[in-house]
Symmetry: C2
Subunit: 415 residues, 2 copies
């Protein structure tokens, strides 16, 4: 039986997950591929650290050793940070080695270049694990929704933020107290800024844009807003309107066909599929030109879910699913603009608001602590001009669906 | 540019959806395949009916005309009923024509035989549209979760039943009143039995078993229970315990490694991803050996969602994604047994229940109308022996997760 030789760069949680997934699913891989998969080498950083690695595997701190592995077919990359990762992967591709990466910050920036270089060198790039952990959203777009044009993407892409919001809501905690729990549980890093200020979700959104639209928006067109300004009272006020806070990324195209995106706290109705997504779960909603809206829910991180994403990617890649055609994805079809018409506003008690209030329709309101929370409907321009003069007001939009022109409204037999 | 020639059997909602999907997405198909897709012929039943079909397409009532189309590559099948469909598809396969079917009753029964015959004849079979409409669940199992062993499947597979339950719950309607609305909206057939008694979900569950486990259970091992015995009060009692009724299909393996399944009303907690699935939506939860649980939500039927499923299947098939290896799927790994430990019981007021009640732990209770609803926890055997003697008691289980041995419980950085 012939062998597929692989190497793993990095042996933290993700690298270990890949190793374990290959090890425990060797029979399944053999059955599908008719070949054995062998981990030949692992790149590590700290040689002093103790690791439980099969002695037949070459462990090294020198990337050149990895490149020199004879007949290396695939490199799994599970390092953090842009460099030297990008340099490593460029060299691998130039040597005709397929790559599979979990590195979102690197891939958001260098993904287009790596995909292009891979095409020229006749190798493939797997990047399922960069976005939403074990949820096969990249594969769904690349392999299962190829006829559909993707018109809108919404996602809960950062498990840490979602966990914090869940804790604040269910236990009435402050943001700081919830963050502390996330850190104690190992969900948040010592420096949690990438997660709670939306940077991590931002990278994933760019990768989704690349996959679904074949290109990325101008990075400056993506507003990025975190969750650290939210309070337990804000969450409670939302709940009283049967709305729930989620930290979501959205992508859409404006009337000039520019791709726009936003990472921000939003409110979702209880009918929205994100409403029940709690703790470290992730969720992605895709709106396709034919299929309508489908939503994928699942684990956004973790050793084995991420290992799963990388090993499933590996199988697709070896079976040559990532043909050139799979990568082409021009944006076409009508342009749709997202208009958000409803918000919940937070106004400090005693502030003057009679003069602008008639511009909106009042749907509901509640008073909590020092603030009045009002659930309103109105024109976007009205809100924007209001916020320019009344900068103490906070406004959170309700996440809305872009309707498709062909939205199925007619009654047809349903089973 | 060369051409891929296709024919469509049946021109009801689904057949029209396929035709429209090909027509409106011709550019996209050309871009991906580098070939034009041409509908050459359509098989209809009633020649007198008026139809809006491009005059270049041959419309016929004679299946032999379809078989005689020169260089026919793919046949889309959108007919209802087992025969003559099965005979048609057998003939197509024998002639070397790929088939794509939406016919669940036929495919549940003849799927294994058709897949085997297709393999021998070097053609592929697409059957995404048989199960859960536009949700790409079959594709996810066949293409994206090939290393993972699927350990458990749960699904809301019948949109009509789900719609009826939504109506009963939100509007306090009786089953009959809700069914009437479903019929008025065209969601339920004049004879709704296939939907409301679980037969439709049963067929889909068999197809999921075939896809995920490589084989089907003994049909007699699948208990099939409908929703017509439920009352608005039952739903209201559940809601008071923060539980919600869903009509779900589940698949698992018993300790003798037999595949077992059940279609029945169950109760789900508000933390379960099915909790918010309302109206005609479908949902499928898959538990994989590596990925853990992922859930797919979306439209379970409709002209374009089903057309989407068939045309995406077509693309995968033409790009030769359905290799022999994709079809092999032996069940391996540890055997898991689902044990349901919690139920809501409905007991008629005034009935004697003191003598058996201590066998369970009482979690909550509510009295509504003539009944007492009790939320209990206990051993399955205890409940079964109780129901044998107290046959007036109704019991609905809470849908539970099968834990995986490797379930990720350790705190690892989550993003």
């Amino acid at each position: 039986m012939s062998t597929i030789n692989v190497a793993i760069l990095g042996f933290g949680t993700v690298g270990q997950g890949v190793c374990e997934a290959i090890d425990t699913h060797q029979d399944r891989l053999k059955e599908v591929l008719g070949k054995e998969v062998k981990v030949r080498a692992i790149l590590i950083k700290d040689p002093a650290k103790e690791r439980d690695i099969d002695p037949s595997i070459h462990v090294t701190t020198d990337f050149q050793d990895i490149l020199d592995v004879p007949d290396l077919h695939v490199m799994f990359e599970a390092i953090v940070g842009e460099e030297p990762t990008y340099t490593y992967l460029t060299k691998a591709i130039e040597k005709g080695i397929h790559i599979i990466t979990a590195n979102k910050a690197m891939f958001a920036k260098h993904g287009p270049g790596l995909l292009e270089k891979a095409k020229r060198n006749g190798v493939s790039v797997g990047f399922e694990a960069t976005t939403a952990g074990g949820i096969p959203v990249i594969g769904s777009i690349r392999q299962l929704l190829k006829v559909n044009e993707i018109r809108q993407i919404q996602g809960i892409l950062n498990g840490t933020s979602n966990f914090i919001l869940s804790q604040m809501r269910t236990r009435g905690l402050s943001f700081d107290a919830a963050l502390k729990i996330a850190q104690e549980k190992g969900y948040a890093e010592a420096d949690p800024n990438n997660d709670i200020e939306g940077r991590d979700a931002f990278y994933k959104l760019l990768i989704l844009s690349q996959t679904a639209f074949g290109r990325q928006p101008d990075w400056n067109d993506i507003q990025c807003k975190g969750i650290s300004h939210l309070t337990a009272e804000w969450l409670q006020a939302a709940e009283s309107f049967r709305l729930r806070f989620k930290h979501a990324g959205t992508l859409w195209r404006d009337s000039a066909d520019h791709i726009k995106g936003e990472v921000a706290p939003v409110l979702v109705h209880e009918t929205h599929p994100f409403y029940g997504v709690e703790d470290v779960e992730n969720a992605i909603s895709l709106k396709g030109s034919l299929v309508g809206r489908i939503t994928l829910l699942g684990p956004g991180a973790g050793k084995l879910p991420t290992g799963s994403a990388m090993v499933e990617d590996f199988l697709s890649l070896i079976e040559r699913k990532y043909t050139a055609s799979a990568e082409s994805r021009a944006v076409a079809g009508e342009v749709l603009v997202e208009r958000t018409h409803q918000w919940v506003l937070r106004i400090r008690k005693g502030d003057e608001y009679q003069n602008w209030f008639p511009s909106f329709t009042l749907l509901d309101h509640i008073q909590l602590g020092d603030f009045l929370y009002v659930f309103v409907e109105g024109r976007k321009e009205t809100l924007e001009s209001l916020l320019r003069t009344q900068c103490h007001i906070q406004a959170v939009p309700i996440l809305k669906e872009i309707p498709l022109e062909n939205e199925v409204k007619t009654g047809t037999a349903v089973h």
